[in-house]
């Protein structure tokens, strides 16, 4: 794995940021494209015992053991009816690489820095901490995911 970006969420390319947008539980989310390693179809994960419910398990990514997170569960969304057409976005955060299971990948967007808004303070939602910025594309609100917050804590013991 080559090390490309240290700050995956806000990558400056001039004033434009490229985002990979995707659907999770019917909502639009996005991540900085520089932190995306690859996108692949859903594979059957081997479940890990004593893991948090949002950890789907591990899959074989060309010989590496890749943990898979169910992003909808991680974001505290309602149980989504599972379809097999789930997509895994492999992202690198710092030293770690994880797969995020999402409903579908939508688009690659170029957003200028000025169009990014900080997320409002909303105490009721538990997913507030997972969003680092908001933007609007074609009248749709796109949330920029804070990957560091999404990562599972290491050495997480049984729930």
């Amino acid at each position: 794995m080559t090390d490309t970006s240290k700050t995956p969420d806000i990558h400056k390319d001039g004033d434009e940021i490229e985002l990979l947008s995707f659907l999770v539980g019917g909502q639009d989310y996005s991540v900085d494209i520089m932190s995306v390693r690859e996108i692949r179809g859903g594979a059957q994960a081997t479940s890990l015992p004593h893991s948090p419910s949002y950890v789907r398990g591990v899959i074989n990514l060309r010989g590496a053991v890749l943990p898979i997170m169910d992003l909808a569960k991680r974001l505290g969304m309602q149980e989504e009816q599972k379809n097999d057409r789930n997509v895994i976005i492999v992202v690198a955060v710092g030293e770690r690489t994880v797969g995020l299971m999402v409903d579908a990948v939508s688009d690659i967007l170029s957003i200028s820095e000025e169009d990014m808004q900080p997320p409002p303070e909303m105490r009721a939602d538990q997913n507030r901490n997972f969003v680092s910025a908001l933007t609007i594309v074609n009248d749709r609100m796109i949330r920029v995911l804070d990957l560091n917050a999404v990562m599972p804590e290491t050495n997480e013991e049984a729930a």
């Binding site: 890990l48 004593h50 591990v58 010989g63």
Partner: protein
């Protein structure tokens, strides 16, 4: 800076290794002058580096050690066995200090104080020590104690002179500089300068006004005595000067040892700096000298034949010695590359992936129904062969010689034998045998235990040995070798051997075996591995702490190894460990539970059985035990323990694996089915996800899916033991 420091510590390890080697050679009486130099240089380099990083404790100790070494080097001190023993101790402390410096752990001065005192006693006085501090960063040079050998191999016709030059205080007062005089002398011809610092007082008595140093110069020149006198013209009357012409030595026809490259040019710029800073101080004076001075032969103007005899002895010595011994020193380092361990691990991973991929490919070719002699099939065959070769080569990269491990063991022998007052000599063989790095790391503890056992129990006391006609000094042999794809490490002693009657008696007393059972010798020997067995009548400081050979055995087994004993009464005992070459591959049993596939390390499984209703007994409200040949073993449901499912309502008819724990306790683990038994490539989970309780690692099966490898011991320690569905709705985990 941190990086430089890290590489300093890596170097330290290497230097300590060559230090150990050198001392060992000296102890074996096979040392030549170069060996002494290697040892000296190792200590010196550690000191130099430590100074650069401000590691004061290390510098101080290394300096004292170095001073003592220097005396040996300059033949002031004979390297007797006792002296070497002290040096070994010094080496140990040096290693400790290096480790402390690396880990930033505090230094306990009391640990070194005793050894330092011993060194002081050895040296008579530490008089010149402090003053010599100034010299510490001088570059090292080799073969300095070969005085009288000139660079030019054909100077037989040139006369040589011995010049004794003792400046008086007046010389310094008038602003003269001995260094310049020496330099001027050098213009005349090749010379060897010796500085005598014997009359140098202690630092607290040292007066900057008083010069106390005397130089002895061996000069070979065709210019004649007059030219020499001319050099000292300006200081005539304010110094003592003796010039004597040496009788032309006939022994000049030495084996042509060309020392020319090793005679260093006088290192001027740094010395000049010192000069300006600390001009008339006698201590600083020392730094003006060419670097070889402090180490050079101090005996002045010895008769030439005596002087030349030394290199003569030294020169042929390496030729007669067996090659591995000489390669042990720093003299002929093998070309190596330092590679980040992560890169190697990545390579190992990728190769593991090739193996898996190739298995899949083979399967699909099989399914495609191609004829056996088709090009695809033959190509695949070759691919198979290549893969295997690549895998082997990659595994070899992780391999390291067991040398570092063996050196630690020699320390154990020294310390443990000193503790109980036995004279023990450790001989090591096959130090260059290579084993996987992880195996080496994890072998240290069991091996330490075995070595201690050999010293404590294996060998008799000195008096007993002499009484039975053996040498008073006991011998422990530590051998490593490759044998049929495995590494065999043997620890043997020439002690009394296993007292089988006693062993049997103790086993009976402790109820480990029935009294009327007849056992073969091997069976009796193997009783030593039983948990709770210890033959030591009184608990000594070394062994008998309750951890016995059973711990050693389980540690070895955890490495996928086996251990065995052979013993002959009165002749000694040999423990033999056989280990796989790598930990990257593991023999596992593929099992399934709650539709998940898991791998259980084969060496942890004692047996497998199918439960009958009569085997199964209720224990507590939520637990069961299994009756296995009249011993009761707790029943664990793997599916429930891992949180895959709720405990079953009925366990009769299920398959259980009987698993042995490190402490000898057992557990019956319920699985749904046993699928297969095969070698699997181990892949860590730690880095990508983190630790998972009860799981050691993961592997990739032939179908490309990941299977988890159980850590049976961890699983059992963490287990709830719940094997009955309870009304309690609390779930263990998602």
């Amino acid at each position: 800076m941190a990086e430089i420091k890290a590489s300093f510590f890596i170097e330290c390890d290497e230097l300590l290794e060559s230090l150990q080697d050198g001392l060992q050679l000296m102890d074996d009486g096979e040392a030549d002058s170069e060996t002494v130099n290697v040892v000296f240089r190792a200590v010196h380099s550690i000191k130099g580096g430590a100074g650069a990083f401000g590691l004061d404790d290390l510098v101080k100790f290394a300096h004292r050690f170095e001073t003592a070494m220097d005396d040996v080097r300059s033949d002031k001190l004979e390297a007797t066995h006792d002296v070497l023993k002290l040096f070994f101790q010094c080496g140990d402390i040096l290693a400790d200090l290096v480790r402390e410096a690396r880990d930033d752990s505090p230094h306990d001065p009391s640990s070194t104080a005793q050894v330092l005192n011993e060194i002081d006693a050895l040296l008579g006085s530490s008089a010149e020590e402090e003053a010599e501090e100034e010299v510490e960063f001088q570059p090292m040079t080799l073969s300095l104690d070969l005085p009288g050998i000139d660079a030019d191999p054909t100077p037989a016709s040139e006369p040589s002179y011995t010049i004794v030059f003792e400046p008086e205080n007046e010389l310094y007062n008038l602003g003269n500089e001995p260094l310049f005089l020496l330099r001027a002398l050098r213009e005349l011809g090749d010379m060897i300068v010796t500085c005598e610092t014997v009359s140098l007082p202690d630092l607290d008595q040292l007066s900057v006004e008083t010069g106390t140093m005397v130089w002895t110069i061996q000069l070979t020149t065709s210019e004649g005595e007059g030219a020499i006198k001319e050099v000292f013209d300006f200081v005539d009357g304010i110094c003592r000067l003796e010039i004597t012409e040496n009788t032309p030595p006939t022994a000049y026809l030495l084996p042509d040892i060309d020392l020319a490259p090793e005679l260093p040019p006088l290192p001027m710029p740094p010395a000049a700096e010192n000069l300006s800073l600390e001009a008339p101080s006698a201590a600083a004076e020392n730094t003006f000298l060419p670097p070889q001075l402090p180490e050079a032969q101090p005996s002045p103007s010895g008769p030439p034949p005596a002087t030349y005899s030394k290199p003569k002895q030294a020169a042929p010595a390496p030729v007669n010695k067996p090659a591995p011994k000489t390669s042990g020193g720093a003299t002929t380092p093998r070309a190596t590359v330092r590679v980040d361990l992560h890169r190697i691990d990545r390579l190992v991973n990728l190769v593991g992936e090739i193996v898996i991929n190739q298995a899949m490919l083979t399967q699909s070719v099989e399914e495609a129904g191609l004829p056996p002699n088709s090009t695809v099939r033959t190509g695949l065959e070759e691919f198979l062969q290549l893969t295997r070769d690549i895998q082997e080569s990659v595994m070899m990269i992780r391999a390291q010689p067991v040398k570092s491990l063996f050196q630690r063991m020699s320390r154990i022998v020294r310390e443990s034998s000193a503790d109980i007052g036995k004279d023990v000599r450790l001989k090591t063989e096959g130090e260059n045998t290579e084993v996987d790095k992880t195996v080496i790391e994890r072998l240290a503890d069991p091996l330490t235990h075995m070595i201690r056992n050999a010293v404590d129990h294996g060998l008799e006391s000195n008096a007993e040995r002499e009484a039975s006609g053996k040498s008073a000094t006991g011998n422990v042999h530590l051998t490593a070798m490759h044998r049929s794809g495995r590494v065999v490490i043997e620890v043997s002693d020439d002690g009394a051997g296993i007292n089988r009657e006693k062993v049997h008696q103790i086993a009976v007393e402790k109820g480990l075996v029935p009294p009327d059972l007849q056992l073969t010798d091997t069976e009796i020997d193997n009783l030593l591995f039983l948990p709770g067995f210890s033959t030591a009548k009184e608990v000594s400081n070394l062994s008998g702490r309750g951890v016995g050979m059973d711990v050693v055995r389980s540690a070895i087994q955890a490495l996928g190894g086996r251990i065995s004993i052979t013993s002959e009464r009165g002749k000694g005992t040999t423990f033999s460990i056989s280990l796989p070459l790598t930990l990257a591959v593991l023999d596992g049993m593929i099992i399934s539970v709650a539709k998940e596939t898991l791998v259980v390390p084969l060496n942890s499984i004692l047996e497998t059985l199918t439960l009958t209703p009569s085997d199964l007994l209720e224990f507590g409200p939520e637990t069961h035990v299994v009756n296995i040949r009249n011993t009761f073993v707790p029943l664990l449901d793997l599916g429930a323990e891992l949180g895959y499912r709720e405990p079953l309502s009925d366990y009769s008819g299920t398959v259980v694996l009987l698993i042995m724990q490190e402490d000898g306790s057992r557990a019956a683990v319920v699985v749904d089915a046993i699928e297969d038994q095969r070698q699997v490539v181990i892949k860590g989970l730690q880095d990508s996800y983190g630790r998972v309780p009860g799981i050691a690692a993961a592997t990739i099966l032939g179908d490309g899916k990941i299977a988890l490898i159980l850590d049976p011991v961890d699983l059992i320690t963490q287990s709830s033991g719940r094997t009955r569905p309870s009304s309690n709705l609390e779930k263990i985990a998602g």
